[in-house]
Amino acid sequence: MKHLFLSRRFWYALVVFVAVLNLKAAPLPIVFAIVILANFYNPATWRPLINVRFWILIAMLVLLAPLFTGDLESRFLGIPYSSNELSKMILMSLRGIVVFLLFQILTINLDSQRTRELLLKLRFHHVDSLFTISKETLPTLRSILKARYAQIIKANGRKIHLGQILQFASAVLEDIVCLAENLSTESYTDNSIDPYKLVETLAEKPTSSLIIILGDPGSGKSPWVNHLVSILRARNIEVTGFVSHKVKVKEEVWYHQIENLFSGERKSLNTMEKIPNALRVGKFSFYPEVFQWVLDGTQGDLKANWFILDEVGPLEAAGEGFAPILTLLDLSFGGNVVLTMRTNYEKQLETLLDRYPNLKSRPRIIAHLPSSTGTAIQPLVDSVICDQSE
């Protein structure tokens, strides 16, 4: 609550709200001032005002209502109109502009990340894993749409009529049902593990375990972790830790963000640019301060039932990176610990665990995520068109 009152957005919105209440005092100067104020807050807030669509209704109100309603006591170019209605409509339109800017100021910074955090706070636990699955399937959905569109164009040329649109939509929906069924029946391989089964198995065990999830890049380690988190949260089992998210900047350029599962806060973990004196693994330089941030976050979350640490690897085996966090977990954490690693670092696992004898002595579960299918849902781009002959 304190944060809300300190925010710049709150004060801007309050000023605009007061302006709405006092608009009648000096309509035009107030609107002018509010547009300038909105521009100071964020120029994007007033950009929709330059869209023609925004003015259609206002034009209708201002031009038509005085001609067809009220007492037509005035004339303009011989056309009778109601000056009283005209004044009312102008005021109404100006109010519309100011209220619109008020909502723009309140919502312009809304994005999918903030929405996701809000939904998690509202206990929509599934949203995380569902959103991950959806994002993974979006390229496949696009492929279906493109492939079916190409089929229609090939068969009929550019002259498309309603029947073909219906045929296209029908084929696309059938493909998507086919895709959903394929992915629904996709099973975990023998040596991988279903997050549901894992939670159920460990619920029956008296001692805490160490779970190692191994997989190649793109095998679905992060979706697997997200899925596990949503299952644990839905069962009111306290889970915390840090998971990483790949963020694409442009073609062949990306970085990772690390998210605190407890607070939902995210920070950039690395960059493909070179940072002087920073740890460097492969193409990435790691921001040194982020490791301290993770350590601080871990110290506050040691009472949870589960702790997840995503993307542990050679840095930690060499005593760097997240090594202090692993030490803290080794000494002070009593719950289940989940670590994800790339498959090619598997040989370093024992070297890594030698540093953490308490974690090493726990019952251990090692799961390999198959490289082609992943856990949650990996796109099956080549097999989604159910019937190529259509």
Partner: protein, 197 residues
């Protein structure tokens, strides 16, 4: 609340995929229609969303799934937003909420498709009335009704009321077509499934 045990793997996949499809339609078609200033774009998108929901809910009849689908669709739509954010997000989530109530009560039979079309045809009008009343004030509706009556009086032949009726009829037509279309597609999918099994 929506518990994990309610949704098995198949349900989760259906919700995620059809939610993504709905979001993709909103983001791509919605942006295109907005760019081209296509009239009734809200109703067209609402009808497409309803068609997707009806098919998904029929194949995955789990309570709560439609709300989750709408949240996924709204989040995907949010990725494509330029500057106006709240309106489209609320529109998608409220549509999902209305359909969830309807489909939870009526199931997924012909009656549910019919009532969904009725509700979704009225919903954009209602949404527009509420949004415009918030923007322009409480007198917005009386002004529009006065305008309709005034046009009818001046032009004659109840022209204003015909125009208003036409506006509502287009909405009904769009939603009705989407419901019929999704019914036909659903039957086709089921027929194919039977044929394969």
């Amino acid at each position: 609340m929506l518990t994990a045990d309610r949704f098995d793997r198949r349900s989760m996949v259906y919700i995620a995929i059809f939610g993504a499809l709905w979001g993709l339609a909103e983001a791509t078609l919605g942006s295109l229609m907005h760019l081209l200033h296509v009239p009734f774009s809200g109703s067209v998108l609402g009808s497409i969303g309803m068609g997707i929901v009806l098919i998904a809910r029929s194949l995955n009849p789990k309570r709560g799934s439609t709300i989750l689908m709408s949240l996924i669709a709204a989040s995907i739509k949010m990725l494509s937003f330029s500057t106006v954010k709240l309106g489209p997000f609320v529109a998608i989530v409220v549509e999902g909420f209305l359909l969830e109530i309807l489909l939870s009560i009526l199931g997924t039979g012909r009656l549910a498709f019919l009532f969904s079309a009725l509700v979704i045809s009225v919903y954009p009008i209602l949404q527009s009335i509420i949004t415009k009343s918030i923007l322009f004030g409480q007198s917005f509706i009386p002004v529009i009704l006065d305008l309709v009556a005034g046009i009818s009086r001046r032009i004659g032949h109840h022209a204003g009321w015909w125009a208003l009726g036409l506006y509502i009829a287009v909405h009904w037509l769009l939603a009705g077509s989407a419901a019929v279309f999704s019914w036909v597609v659903l039957k086709r999918i089921r027929r194919d499934e039977d044929h394969l099994s």
